[in-house]
């Protein structure tokens, strides 16, 4: 197809060809094309098939406002071909077709619309109930948008950026650019968002001269140059708004261009003030077959010619409701399109200059006429028109029907920020009626059409935004308002929604194949308001996000129900305003994890690291997932574990003890220096949230540890539960400041003696003791003697900066003994053998201290402390039928059920928390939470595992601990 190559408005280079592939055929476009315009230039007219009826659909808006031009591009479905720039080598294919878009074997479905009334899938396919799964599968096969391969991986650079701006202007048309310039002139930092690749809005493609003789497109380019030259305006082109939120938060999605370091990115802006200058889209005229390929909006026809150099067809009929339609018709006539006639549903109020322009070009102008039906099977071949006053009808043949009922302000950004709209009978539009604080509107969004008024309103909005940022603009703002008052106000528009037509195929929503008839059916079934009809008849729930039917649905409902137009209110707009790919929302992947001070020394050959909470830690030091060598070395010799992720806190001040008494279930008044105290924290339901060690270092000076996963919330927890008390205590999270080495095994003391500058004999440093001394002659350490893994065991807490030296020193001191690292899983096995629990592994949200058998920790003698959990613990003490923690031994010592397997009889009776094949015991043992009646010693548990095929494993409840029940080894 030859292109108009001399127009000054073109955005293409007609001489630089780009080859691509459509449905297996090689096609050619040019640089600057979108995928859709390149296809149009190559003769493609049927772009897709519709959702339900598989009707042919063509180019309609050029701005991606409906699903008509959604394509699979390079394997990615649902790409908006109208807004996707063409690139050489692209592979493009149609969606929702059997065969091709031109010849779709499901095209016959269009004849069965009577079988698919509004909401048919809710109502018709549920009786009998067994029918629904079959029906659902068939519907999914026949209806829908693109398909994605299950193993599809999106390739590309997807990032995000968080901007800080004083003023954010949404929309880069004349009003938006003037707003940005006005705010910038007062020194405000401005971000300007524009969804198209270039600035200019409604001026951008138009040749018509403004009042001062400058062509509109030239004015747009002059303004764009001024915006570009302003230092404090940042322009984000190809950036579509996703949503506006409270306190002036804006989210958007930007498509990358040549030279950008992203393909698509998420943009988030918090601005002191917002100017919304999003302009208008066109609203579809409702008539029979109003979506036949060849029926297109004014802007689509106009921009095809002026932006892309493509004539929309040879013979055109116009049925429009705004001056823009007359201007487009005159322009297309100049470019050589035969304009059969221009029908305008407005009986009067046309721009006389444009009417004269049509007369000069011998184009018949029919005021008060409207299209009633488009004819032709796959493409428009003709159109029927009627006079609205009933004085006549006519039929014309054509291959393009430019149809539009008027304009719809794009007010979504206003209403999402809690602004309100009201129907305005003068313009026939829903216009912003009340605005949230620090949000301003300008341009065609407010109903203006006069170019000077559009620009002046933008200037004023920019000044108001500057005022929000504390700039003194009063004088200029007053002058601007006066000037705006002298310019033409909002232009009159037609209230017509539906042409007088009686067919079944006048579409309110193209994306969801919803017709006027469907809306009527919904009303007949009792749905009375647009919000309900929208859901029942799926009007505006497709990829276009309700933009095109946003005006027509409420007006049509009002008309069909005999209500005045002023009573109508549009359905709620919600983010996302445009479809956003999941890859963009996922953004770049930042796996931010914490590393212990000796992270590198843990990365031994064969070590398997895992993300454990916020940390990356070594789970296994070999590929033996039972960790037999690691466990054996600890049980018979000595091992060391990097426990630096343990939560560690300093708590001090006059009310420190009060805080401890409030948070811990035990009586912390009984703490003695030099001893550790194990205790637990519950929530107000008596359920365990954490356990750990508390040490009293001096009066009003405490050191405490928490589990790794809980460390981040501990200060918050203490402060929350003491928030009304006004207590004087302070808390510091030392988790990252101190590293921890767990030194365990019968030879642990021998190793410690070699590095400690203190006596550590069993008498000098007994079990449950706490000591502070130096290691290696200089490193201060806090050392506690514990027994989590069931052996003689020391925990060395040392400053992180010295951690590496201490680690290496301890390792060197034990080399001759055969000291070796052990990992998190070895520790897990050993503590399980010892019957020690981990909160979150052997407990869940509902597990109380009593359920775990830890009731002995709870002190009932401190009611004045109002301990968190104490009330619920007392009240649930005798509660029957709770899940209790038990130890079990598998009947088959070779079989270990997976963690999380369920305990069953006739029903689910509990679940396996942890179970391992114990090398030390030559048994398979574990812990489970089971219904109280099953918790008695000797009870047989039946365990169901995924994939067991009904063969239940059996286990017997046995006392814990499994290993060293007398505890001699931890005291040796």
């Amino acid at each position: 197809m030859t292109r108009l190559s001399e127009l000054p408005t073109l955005r293409i280079d007609p001489y630089e060809e780009l080859r691509f592939e459509y449905d297996g055929r090689p096609l050619t476009g040019v640089a600057g094309d979108s995928v859709a315009t390149a296809m149009f230039a190559s003769g493609v007219r049927v772009f897709s098939r519709s959702l339900k009826y598989h009707r042919p659909r063509g180019l309609y808006s050029l701005d991606g406002e409906c699903a008509n031009a959604m394509m699979a591009v390079d394997g990615v479905p649902n790409a908006a071909a109208e807004t996707t720039p063409l690139a050489a080598g692209m592979r493009v294919g149609p969606q929702n077709v059997r065969g091709s878009a031109d010849h779709d074997r499901l095209g016959f479905l269009d004849m069965f619309d009577w079988a698919m009334p509004a909401g048919f899938y809710y109502r018709l396919m549920h009786k009998p109930a067994a029918m629904w799964p079959i029906a659902a599968e068939q519907i999914r096969k026949m209806a829908g948008l693109g398909e994605m391969e299950p193993d599809h991986r999106t390739v590309g650079r997807y990032t995000e950026t968080y901007l800080n701006a004083e003023v954010c202007v949404v929309g880069g048309g004349p009003a938006g650019m003037r707003a940005a310039l006005a705010a910038a002139q007062y020194g405000a930092r401005v971000v300007l968002l524009e969804r198209r690749p270039w600035l200019g809005g409604s001026f951008e493609h138009r040749l018509r001269s403004l009042d001062d003789g400058t062509p509109a497109y030239q004015r747009a380019r002059d303004l764009a140059a001024a915006v570009k030259a302003a230092d404090n305006i940042r322009v984000f082109a190809r950036t579509a708004l996703i949503g506006t939120y409270n306190d002036n938060l804006i989210t958007a999605v930007q498509r990358g261009a040549n030279g950008d370091d992203f393909d698509e990115r998420y943009v988030e802006i918090r601005a002191a003030s917002i100017v919304v200058a999003t302009g208008c889209i066109e609203r579809p005229l409702l008539f029979e077959n109003n979506e036949r390929p060849g029926v297109m909006q004014i802007g689509c026809a106009h921009r095809l010619a002026h932006t892309y150099g493509l004539l929309p067809g040879r013979t055109a009929v116009f049925s429009v409701g705004s001056d823009g339609g007359l201007e487009c018709a005159a322009d297309l006539a100049d470019h050589g399109v035969a304009i059969t006639c221009v029908a305008d549903c407005r009986p009067e109020g046309h721009d006389p200059e444009l009417v004269e322009a049509l007369r000069q070009r011998n184009v018949p102008f029919l005021a008060g006429w409207v299209a009633t039906a488009a004819h032709g099977r796959k493409k428009v071949r003709g159109v029927s028109l009627t006079a609205l006053d009933g004085t006549g009808t006519r039929d014309d043949s054509c291959d393009v029907l430019v149809a539009s009922a008027g304009r719809t302000p794009l007010a979504g950004p206003v209403t999402m920020a809690q602004g309100k709209l009201a129907y305005d009978s003068h313009t026939g539009c829903f216009l912003p009626a009340s605005l949230p604080a620090r949000l301003h509107v300008a341009g065609r969004l407010t109903g203006l059409e006069d170019p000077a008024a559009i620009e002046t309103s933008g200037h004023g909005a920019g000044l108001a935004a500057a005022a929000d940022c504390g700039r003194a603009v009063e004088t200029e703002l007053r002058e601007c308002d006066e000037r705006l008052g002298q310019l033409p106000g909002p232009a009159a528009g037609s209230g017509l929604v539906r042409s007088p037509t009686h067919g079944r195929k006048a579409f309110v929503c193209f994306d969801e194949d919803a017709t006027v008839k469907n809306v009527r059916q919904a009303i007949d079934q009792g749905f009375d308001v647009p919000e309900l009809i929208k859901r029942f008849a799926s009007v505006g729930t497709g990829p276009g996000q309700g933009g095109l039917p946003g005006h027509n649905l409420p007006m049509l409902v009002a008309e069909l129900r005999g209500m005045p137009p002023e009573s109508a209110s549009p359905t709620t707009m919600r983010a996302p305003m445009v479809p956003v790919s999941m890859a963009t929302l996922a953004g770049s992947s930042h796996d931010m994890c914490k590393r212990t001070p000796v992270h590198d020394s843990q990365k031994l050959p064969g070590a398997i690291m895992r993300r454990i909470g916020a940390w990356r830690r070594v789970r296994y030091f070999s590929d033996d997932l039972l960790c037999r060598a690691e466990v054996r070395n600890v049980r018979t010799n000595v091992g060391m574990l990097d426990g630096s992720s343990l939560g560690k806190f300093r708590l001090w001040g006059p009310d420190a003890l009060n805080a401890l008494q409030r948070i811990y279930v035990s009586d912390m008044a009984k703490l003695r220096p030099g001893r550790v105290k194990y205790s637990a924290m519950c929530n107000d339901d008596g359920c365990v949230v954490d356990d750990g060690i508390v040490i009293k270092r001096a009066d009003n000076e405490y050191y405490l540890t928490t589990s790794s996963g809980r460390a981040g919330q501990t200060v918050e927890w203490f402060r929350y539960h003491t928030r009304y008390d006004g207590w004087d205590f302070k808390m510091v999270n030392l988790t990252d400041a101190l590293g921890v080495i767990n030194l365990s095994g019968p030879n642990a003391r021998t190793v410690l003696e070699r590095v400690a500058d203190a006596r550590v004999s069993n008498d000098a440093f007994p079990f449950s003791g706490y000591r502070e001394f130096t290691l290696l002659g200089r490193v201060p350490a806090r050392v506690m003697r514990l027994g989590f893994v069931g052996e003689l065991s020391y925990e060395l807490h040392v400053p992180s900066s010295y951690m590496r030296a201490v680690w290496d020193g301890v390792a060197a001191a034990g080399t001759d003994l055969g000291i070796a690292n052990f990992g998190v899983e070895a520790q897990n096995i050993m503590r399980m053998e010892k019957g020690h629990l981990i909160v979150g592994s052997e407990s869940e949200q509902r597990t109380t201290l009593n359920d775990l058998g830890l009731g002995f920790l709870w002190s009932r003698n401190k009611p004045e402390a109002r301990t968190v959990g104490s009330v619920a613990l007392a009240q649930t003490l005798e509660q029957p039928d709770r899940l209790k923690l038990v130890g079990f031994r598998m009947d088959d010592p070779e079989h270990t059920p997976r963690d999380g397997s369920i305990v069953v009889d006739e029903r689910i009776r509990g679940w396996v928390c942890v179970a391992r094949n114990s090398d030390a015991l030559s048994q398979a043992v574990g812990m489970a939470l089971v219904d109280e009646p099953l918790s008695g010693e000797g009870t047989t548990l039946q365990i169901y595992e995924d994939g067991c095929g009904g063969n239940l494993a059996t286990a017997r409840v046995v006392p814990m601990p499994f290993y060293d029940p007398g505890g001699a080894r931890i005291r040796m």
């Binding site: 604080a437 107000d684 402060r719 929350y720 928030r723 009330v871 619920a872 009240q875």
Partner: protein
Amino acid sequence: MSFLITCPTCGPRKGYEFRYGGEDKGPRPDEAGLTPEEWVEYVHMNRCVAGVSKEWWFHRDGCSAWFTIWRDTRTNLQVQVSNDGPEEQS
């Protein structure tokens, strides 16, 4: 959570930085003679007003302070409370 919260220490910050701590229900009741009903009422029951609610927030990604604000649950905006009653803060 798109709204801003004014932390008494740090000033206005993004809502994402904070954790919600529930409605302001006053200090913990005395344990003596407390019935399960009264306890559940205190711990779990909320007024859930459609209007201005006084509630606790924690500045998790900031100064680690618990503090109360007044928030209009209908607009999800923080309101400032003066002697004349709540007014929207914007």
